[in-house]
């Protein structure tokens, strides 16, 4: 059995263990006997914790998969879906809806976020144009993310009321509090479509190990690959941001954890990275809910707190290798 299949099976098993534990965790402990026993326990499980569980798993998988694909495409272990500018475009869309006073829980916010993500993807495609250059693509992504970041800051600074400001800032820090099945219904189909688009990139990502020229000589259509990347990563990340805000570092960390275990082949990293991403977000969210803090810690904050030292470790290891 290839190493990546073995790792995927192990991760799937870990997910199956983590899922019920996560359902039990929270301010109100609900033991498995109450899950289907009617009453409040069942309500909490079915209407609150189950959708949250599904979102944790799908968002983690989406970010892990998008990150692994981005790193393979850019052939850069430090690439992150955030580099792409789509998550900040989606965030800008969401923030715009909050600015105009939309109710956070309504469908308006995810709708705006998705529109933002779509606009970001369209802008990226437009800038990159007919060229299939990876450098142009990276720079266009950087341009997009800094522009949308600046516009988001602008909206925060001119928000009509302090309440709107607080709401925007609060939302920007990714979290999965009070999510419902409606959020699952918004995100899941888009993420599946995104994953499907990325599944088609497998041979191309592997061939890119040899560089762009060699990949083209192997019959890889670089323009088609670029379209698939924009569509796939855009849908995965856009849908994640639409329902959970920006959760950083998952897309960066997870492919790294997985890569040495599967022999570094870009396509072998994809599935384990999706599963490991799901597990990481699920465990982190369960911890966030279980910690005895006054108000719940935000998932996005925890991810960044864990992610930053990891990133530092990576840089130090790279420095050692370069020395």
């Amino acid at each position: 059995m290839p190493a990546s299949t073995r790792l995927s099976l192990g991760l799937a098993a870990a997910l199956l263990v983590a899922a019920p534990v996560s359902l039990m965790a929270g301010k109100v402990p609900v033991s498995p006997s109450e899950w289907l026993g009617g009453g409040l326990g069942q309500l909490i499980i079915i209407e609150l914790r189950l959708p949250r569980l599904v979102l944790c798993v799908t968002i983690g998988a989406a970010l892990g998969l998008a990150g692994a694909a981005m790193q393979g495409y850019l052939r850069n272990p430090l690439a992150d879906p955030g580099l792409f500018g789509v998550s900040s475009s989606a965030a800008l869309g969401a923030v715009a809806s909050l600015y105009f006073g939309a109710d956070v829980s309504a469908l308006v916010l995810p709708g705006f976020a998705l529109a933002g993500a779509a606009a970001g993807m369209a802008a990226l495609a437009l800038v990159v144009g007919r060229s299939a250059s990876i450098i142009l693509f990276t720079l266009a992504g950087l341009l997009l993310s800094s522009l949308t970041g600046a516009l988001t800051t602008l909206l925060i600074s001119i928000a009509p009321t302090p309440f709107a400001t607080a709401e925007i800032v609060n939302w920007l820090i990714g979290a999965l509090v009070d999510r419902s099945w409606r959020d699952v219904a918004v995100a899941l189909p888009l993420m599946l479509a995104g994953a499907l688009a990325l599944a088609g990139t497998v041979p191309a990502l592997d061939a890119l190990t040899l560089g762009e020229t060699a990949a083209r000589s192997l019959g890889i259509d670089m323009r088609r690959l670029q379209w698939r990347m924009i569509l796939g990563v855009g849908l995965l990340v856009g849908a994640s941001v639409a329902v959970a805000g920006i959760i950083g570092f998952v897309g960066l960390i997870v492919p790294h954890l997985v890569r040495p275990l599967v022999g570094s082949r870009p396509s072998a990293v994809l599935l384990p990275a999706a599963l490991a991403g799901a597990l990481l977000v699920l465990v982190a969210d369960t911890l966030v809910r279980s910690l005895p803090t006054v108000s719940e810690l935000r998932l996005g904050v925890v991810m960044s707190l864990v992610g930053a030292p990891f990133f530092l470790m990576l840089l130090l290891r790279m420095r050692r290798e370069l020395a």
Binding site: R75, P203, D206, A207, L208, T209, L210, G211, T213, A214, R216, S217, L218, G219, I220, D221, G263, S264, R265, P266
Partner: protein, 258 residues
């Protein structure tokens, strides 16, 4: 069967790079593309590989325009070893060689034919014992052989290599040339961009000599690799002698005083 350029012209941003180049790469022979820096050698190779569409003229593979062929069909017939070796991930050597099967691979993973082609390519390049080693930790010479195996694994009918000897020491250069010769002897058409004239003389069956985007001379190696022709191309006198093993020796020399 031949891969042939027919009056290929190419301009980049209004600057002419290739002007009406015609030449043929016969099967089972080594064609060396020579010329000073900026003569258009790599661009010609890129056109021959079907990666760049000429502005005028065509590259024909058994009578079909390669620029219009489906990428997969083209990739099955023509293998390219690019100028700068790139290996971006630390995969094992056998996996890297397997990447060369991309144009043949079916939807459902590697088939027996793929494994056999990978084995044969590694055997031919003497890399079989490196199979499980991570490529980034191999020596430069070993990496070059593994990358050659990668191209051979695709079982191309033409192998185009852009400066395959760059960054190799003399022994590895000789080894690489011998392996490329064996590839041609097995029936593959081989085209090499080279800088070293003596290397060219050792392996070339035919030579295309470019200068400033034009074909200065083309034909059997002995007809092109003459001191007067080479001096006209490189602007430096070339001395032709014979090495102890009987092979021609071509050495750029200082211009005589006066």
């Amino acid at each position: 069967m031949a891969l042939a350029a027919e009056a290929v012209s190419l301009a980049l941003q209004g600057r002419p790079i290739l002007a009406g180049i015609s030449g043929e790469l016969p099967s089972g022979a080594i064609t060396v593309i020579l010329g000073p820096n900026g003569a258009g050698k790599s661009m010609l190779l890129s056109c021959l590989a079907g990666l760049r569409r000429p502005d005028a003229g065509r590259v024909l593979l058994d009578g079909t325009d390669v620029a219009g062929m489906p990428a997969r069909t083209r990739a099955q017939a023509i293998g390219l070893l690019p100028q700068r070796a790139e290996i971006h991930w630390d995969i094992d050597a056998r996996t890297l060689v397997g990447l060369g099967r991309a144009p043949h691979r079916g939807r459902f993973g590697p088939a027996a034919a793929d494994e056999a082609a990978i084995d044969a390519a590694m055997e031919m390049t003497g890399t079989a014992q490196l199979a499980a080693r991570p490529v980034l930790r191999l020596s430069g010479g070993e990496q070059a052989r593994v990358l050659l195996a990668r191209v051979l694994a695709g079982e191309p009918r033409w192998l185009l290599a852009d400066e395959p000897l760059a960054s190799l020491d003399p022994a590895h250069q000789a080894d690489m040339l011998a392996r490329l010769k064996a590839v041609a002897a097995a029936g593959t058409g081989v085209a090499l961009v080279l800088h070293d004239l003596t290397h060219a003389a050792r392996v070339a069956d035919r030579v295309l000599l470019l200068r400033a985007g034009r074909l200065l001379a083309g034909g059997p190696a002995d007809a092109v690799l003459r001191p007067d022709v080479l001096e006209a191309a490189y602007d430096i006198p070339v001395w032709r002698g014979t090495a102890p093993d009987g092979a021609p020796l071509l050495l750029p020399v200082r211009r005589a005083a006066g």
